[in-house]
């Protein structure tokens, strides 16, 4: 049970660190610099978005003479090459179209094609790696670049916001999730001095940093951005998050899309955990990444499904051994859950009020209706006891019905993942999108992410083929005014 509470405690700890970012941050080391930046956009059939993205980049509030945009076209079969060539004609000094005739190997290979060409020339002082659908706010690149004035900094990442307009239930769940996973967590990681992951859609590297990590992006895994982040820090450079440099991206708007994207990320994280096994909990050799604190945070996140299963097993065993004790532990666990939920949700709304305004319902419903009901019941002392008492027919002896309800509540921490998986299957197999969304509302979006993490371990264990399943973009993203 104690292990089951670990992810809650680590989340709480990270959120407690966020406020300290007001007292300790990197802003006192920034300077007004405008290094020559080569922007690399890997593109495979991005015809619906690439034109807008290039226009947006060209119109950034940044020295035009210090900006070159390289679209690495991964053998696209749509109108991507045509659009890129037209853009090159329009902005011949700033836009370049690099074509790979044999593509399909994934983002990392595509990026390496561009990085190799850019590093061969002496022009670029910094390289911005981004995605084809990401739209930068006018000052975002300038805000990122100012951190490079500190020679200790190797890379900087921005705050990626979900920007689909009008958006739906799923994309708004992601919008809220990004407040917690980026705006909050990455500020906490700035405080700790160790970054877990630079967002793949907006990472600015110094030329020296990219050279130091081998002049290329790791191609062995599905989490190339996290590998780059770890390698940057292992080579002794800082990775910084600037929560005020804002970029907008289109995220999946259906459960199957989320599953595909997050499974790739989660498998990448499992691969990375194995690849960097020499780093974990070895703070002398790897200060930061090897610290006890960072290791605990990392493993509590990637092992969350197992902690949830352990909680359930612990409670069920205790139920048969000592029911009153199991009931007491269950209530304490959910009170801790309630406090964490209240603090994280309210604080997230405060961190990014603009996004909160768009997706506050999804923020409130993030844990799902059943978890919320248990949170509500455990928040008012006596109600859970009263519920069981009434189900017992006003007796203290457990009946069949009350036993079922108790066991269901004890198991819910794990069952919610099963429900989320069911929602995925309902959408994938029978295309019953509305029903799938209702199931997600009941089971929660958080449990869906945990179910995907669990699936990633199964896929790794079964050695399922590593496929670069690109998230399909429709061009719905836009820069939203604050």
């Amino acid at each position: 049970m104690l292990l089951g509470s670990l992810p809650l405690l680590t989340s709480l700890f990270q959120f407690l660190l966020v406020g300290l970012h007001g007292l300790k941050n990197h802003y006192h080391k920034v300077q007004n610099i405008a290094p020559r930046v080569a922007i690399i956009i890997p593109a495979w059939n991005e015809g619906s978005v690439i034109g807008t993205t290039i226009e947006q980049l060209y119109n950034l509030d940044y020295e035009k003479s210090s900006l070159k945009i390289y679209v690495v076209d991964d053998a696209s079969t749509d109108e991507t090459p045509k659009i890129c060539q037209a853009m090159h004609k329009k902005y011949p000094k700033n836009v370049y179209h690099l074509r790979r005739e044999n593509g399909g190997q994934g983002k990392a290979h595509t990026l390496n094609h561009g990085i190799e060409i850019i590093l061969e020339e002496a022009w670029a002082e910094a390289l911005l790696i981004m995605d084809a659908d990401v739209l930068f706010e006018k000052n975002a690149l300038r805000k990122m670049a100012r951190h490079l004035a500190d020679p200790e900094v190797g890379s900087v990442t921005a705050y990626i916001k979900e920007g689909s307009e009008p958006g739906n239930l799923i994309s708004k769940f992601i919008a809220f999730e990004y407040i917690t996973a980026q705006a909050a967590s990455r500020r906490a990681q700035n405080i700790m001095g160790t970054m877990a992951c630079l967002a793949g859609g907006a990472q600015l590297h110094t030329r020296e940093n990219l050279r130091a990590i081998g002049g290329r992006i790791d191609t062995s895994s599905l989490a190339e951005d996290t590998f780059t982040t770890f390698n940057t820090q292992i080579n002794g450079r800082k990775a910084i998050f600037d929560g005020n440099a804002i970029v907008w991206a289109e995220e999946p708007d259906n459960i199957v899309g989320v599953w595909k994207q997050r499974l790739r990320w989660a498998r990448g994280n499992v691969q990375l955990t194995k690849a960097f096994k020499h780093v974990w909990f070895r703070s002398k050799a790897y200060p930061g990444l090897g610290s006890f604190l960072f290791g605990t945070l990392w493993f509590s996140i990637i092992s969350m499904p197992f902690f949830m299963l352990l909680s359930t097993i612990g409670l069920l065993v205790l139920f048969f051994v000592n029911f009153p004790l199991s009931w007491f532990v269950f209530k304490q666990f959910w009170i801790l859950n309630s406090i964490t939920y209240l603090f994280i949700t309210l604080f997230s709304f405060g961190i990014d009020p603009f996004t909160a305004k768009r997706s506050w319902i999804q923020g409130v419903l993030f844990p799902g209706l059943i978890s919320m009901a248990i949170i509500g019941l455990s928040s008012i002392p006596g109600t859970l006891d009263l519920l069981i008492y009434k189900l017992n027919g006003h007796s203290h002896e457990l009946t069949q019905l009350s036993t079922f309800v108790v066991l269901f509540m004890y198991s819910w921490v794990s069952l919610c993942m099963l429900f989320a998986y069911w929602a995925y299957q309902v959408e994938k197999r029978w295309q019953l999108n509305t029903l799938a969304k209702i199931i997600i509302l009941i089971s929660g979006f958080g449990p869906l992410l945990c179910a995907i993490t669990l699936q990633s371990y199964i896929s790794e264990w079964q050695k399922t083929e590593l496929k670069w399943d690109k998230t399909e973009k429709s061009g719905k993203v836009k820069v939203m005014s604050h």
């Binding site: 959120f15 407690l16 966020v18 406020g19 300290l20 970012h21 007001g22 007292l23 941050n25 802003y27 920034v30 300077q31 007004n32 610099i33 405008a34 290094p35 020559r36 509030d61 020295e63 210090s66 002082e125 000052n139 300038r142 805000k143 100012r146 490079l148 004035a149 020679p151 500020r187 110094t206 030329r207 020296e208 600037d242 929560g243 005020n244 007491f328 304490q332 009170i335 406090i339 209240l342 603090f343 309210l346 604080f347 405060g350 961190i351 928040s379 008012i380 002392p381 006596g382």
Partner: protein
Amino acid sequence: MGQNRKKRKGQGDVALSVFAQEKKEDIQEEKRLFTVECLVLVMVFVLVILRELIFPSQLFWIQEIRAIITLISNL
């Protein structure tokens, strides 16, 4: 690159006031988060205390806190 950066610093001079303004606003934004966090923490703390006052319960950690307060006050 460090030298290049310094040399190139002049390029951004036109926008020096913009840079300073943005930096100021971003620092203020981070300070705002600190204030928001304090407010939310106080709010959650008040709710927990209210819960305890309205519905005296068997929360073991509240009992522990009470025991510690009693211990300190008896010193």
